[in-house]
Structures are given as C-alpha cells and as structure tokens.
C-alpha cells in the first residue's frame, strides 16, 4: 500500500467523522480488501474457511464503525485499522477454539498490497443475528443495507421520521456488533 492511499483514506475518515456518508462508504470499500486479506490469512492458518473469514471482515467493519471515535484525526489510519482487525480476528479464532494469540499480523502486511478478489459470499453470521433484532431496527437495517435505499426513502416506506430511522439504524448496528461479540462467549 502506498503512503498516498493511506493519506487519502485518512482524509476520507476525517470527512466520515464529520458525517460524510459518501466518503465513509468509499473508505470502507477501500479498506475491505485489506481486512479480507488479514482475515483470510488468519483463518486459513488454523483451517477455517473463506466464509468464516468473511464473518470476521464484517465484524471488523462494525468494530471500526462503532469505535471510530478512538481514531485520532492527526494519526496514520492503517495502524489503527490493523489493530482492530487483529483484535477481531483473535476474538473470532478464540471463540472457535483456535489459539488466536499466535496470529502475528505483522507478517500479513506484505499481502496487503495485493487485494483479494471481490467477495460475493453470503455470510450467515450477521444475517442470522439480524433476525434477532427488534422488528423496527431489523426493518431499517434491512432496507438500508439489503434494499439499498436512502434514509429518506426508508423513512417514507416505514412511515417513520428520518430521525427515528437514523436512531434505529445506529442502535441496530450496535446491537448487531454486540450479538456477534457475545455469541459463544
């Protein structure tokens, strides 16, 4: 990865922290291949599948989102991202009874430049927990995520206010992350 890309990603993250959803989506899409490389390398080593790795990727994305306030705008972004990815990988491996402590993320850095192919795997874990959310939150998350409609359209479809849609989305994502974390813990 070039330093230039990292600078651009940091700029996107600053915009995202100020509420820019477009920059945020661009950043998360750009980060995902990196997260996928880390997760796959870690999962492969202990005999887990690409679908398991994709679960870890989704968990990591949620963690990045919910903990984005811990990133300092004047600091490089990749050490922060990698630390979160490693943390979520270790968590996931431990949960599956693998010895996560042995994962050394530093030797993953060489594969980070090579982005793995885009993944179209439908992952079970997040979807499964989506069904455990309260109906209000589930409908909002589903509309925004799977149907891909805007906050405003979601509000119209579900006859909610936009503010209520935002709150439901935020709580839904936080609960999703919590369920994933607590599963099997």
């Amino acid at each position: 990865m070039t330093g230039e890309a990292e600078l651009e990603w940091a700029a996107w993250m600053r915009a995202a922290l100020a509420g820019d959803a477009v920059a945020y989506q661009a950043l998360l899409l750009a980060l995902t291949p990196v997260l996928r490389a880390i997760a796959r390398r870690g999962c492969q080593r202990v005999g887990l599948t690409a679908a398991d790795a994709e679960d870890v990727v989704q968990e990591t994305l949620l963690a990045i989102h919910l903990k984005r306030q811990t990133w300092q705008p004047d600091m490089p972004i990749m050490p922060w991202v990698r630390a979160i990815a490693r943390n979520k990988l270790v968590d996931a491996l431990r949960r599956r009874g693998r010895r996560g402590r042995e994962i050394d993320i530093d030797d993953v850095s060489d594969v980070l430049a090579a982005a793995p192919e885009e993944d179209r795997t439908v992952v079970n874990d997040v979807a499964k927990h989506l069904h455990n959310l309260a109906p209000g939150q589930r409908n909002v998350v589903q509309a925004v995520a799977i149907d891909g409609i805007s906050i405003r359209e979601t509000a119209q479809r579900l006859t909610m206010s936009e503010g209520a849609v935002r709150v439901a989305l935020h709580r839904g994502l936080a609960l999703l992350a919590q369920r994933l974390r607590e599963r099997g813990a």
Partner: protein
C-alpha cells in the same frame, strides 16, 4: 448479508456520534475527583497540621508519589484504549511513582535508626488507610470505567487495572492529607496494598465491561 450491504448500512450511520474518549475520560475524572473529595471531607478531613506540614519532605512525598501515579495512569490508559497506539513514554512515567518512593525509602532508612524502621512501617493508621483509600476510590473507578467503554482496549482487564491505578492515585492523594503516618515505609506498604485492591477490582470489572 453481503459485506457490501453491511458497508452501505454502516455508511448511512456516519452522523457524528458521542464524545471522544478523551473528553469522556475528562468528564469522568472531574466527577470522580469531586465525589472522592466530598467523601473525604465528610468522612476524614485533612489532619490539623496539614498546612504546617507542607515544609516537610516526607509529607510532600506522599502527594508527589500518588499524583504522579494518577497522571501517568491517565496517560497510559488513553493509549491502551486506542487501537494501534503504543504506550510511549507513559510506562516510564508510571515507573516514576515507585521510583520516587524508593528514593524516599532510602532516605528514610538512612535517617532513622534500625530500631524505628518497623514501627514506622506499621504506623498507627494502617486500618484506616486500607479502608478509606479503596472506599474513596470507588466512585472515580466506576466513572472512569464507564467512560472507558467508549474506547477499544486490546486488553480490557489491563485497561481496567490501570483505571484502578488512576482511582487509587486520586483517592490516596486525598487520604495523604488526613493520615498522620508520613514514613515512606508506611506509604510503600499500606498505600500500595490499598491501591492494589482498586487495581484488582478494576481489572475484574474491566475484563467484562470493556470488551468490545
């Protein structure tokens, strides 16, 4: 759900959310110090000669050690809850507290005849120390741990333990103004034990509360 779908949902939730961890910790510290100070004034209060003792090195050392401990632990915990940050200089600053105490002990051992070492260590107030430092540290510890939930520590129990050090440092600095025992030998023994209780409690709670 496909990963791209999840990303779309997350991006729509970009709206700024909540205070930064540093701001949360600052609020918790303000509240914690206030709560501990009120408890201190209600239950103990400064000793009669507290102001007159300000020219005594042994008395001042108690504040130096406990306040350095609290400040260093604050710096360290802010690093611990930030993914990818290294402890930096804060681990070294933290070691300043026991370092200062060791210098004090060396001076005390040189100043006192051997026969008075043990009485100085045992002191007169050990039970009060072991009761009130943990007790006055509870409110700061709780508030700090709650504030740290906004962070993302790689090691939640460790972050909780360092939160215990902060609370212990604050509480012990207040208690130092009350306690008639000024010997570094007393401080090294009983303050350490009392603060260790808060550290253990912090680690125990942090292990669960600070997971993310």
């Amino acid at each position: 759900m496909k990963t791209d779908d999840l990303i779309r949902a997350i991006a729509q939730d970009a709206a700024p959310s909540g205070l930064r961890p540093q701001a949360r910790l600052a609020l918790a510290l303000a509240g914690g110090v206030a709560a501990a100070a009120i408890l201190f004034l209600l239950l103990l209060g400064p000793r009669g000669d507290a102001v007159a003792s300000l020219d005594q090195l042994r008395f001042l050392l108690k504040f130096a050690v406990t306040l350095v401990l609290a400040v260093a632990a604050i710096g360290l915990v802010l690093r611990l809850i930030q993914p990818g940050a290294s402890a930096g200089v804060w681990r070294g600053v933290l070691l300043l507290a026991p370092g200062l105490l060791l210098i004090g002990i060396a001076g005390e051992l040189m100043a006192l005849p051997e026969a008075r070492w043990l009485p100085a260590l045992v002191g007169v107030n050990a039970r009060v120390c072991l009761t009130y430092i943990p007790l006055m540290g509870l409110a700061p510890l709780g508030l700090i741990l709650f504030a740290l939930r906004g962070g993302a520590p790689a090691r939640p129990a460790l972050a909780g333990a360092v939160a215990g050090l902060i609370a212990g440092g604050i509480s012990a600095a207040l208690y130092a103004a009350h306690c008639p025992d000024d010997s570094p030998l007393f401080v090294a023994t009983w303050y350490t034990l009392a603060i260790a209780m808060l550290v253990a409690l912090g680690a125990l709670i942090g292990r669960r509360l600070l997971r993310w």
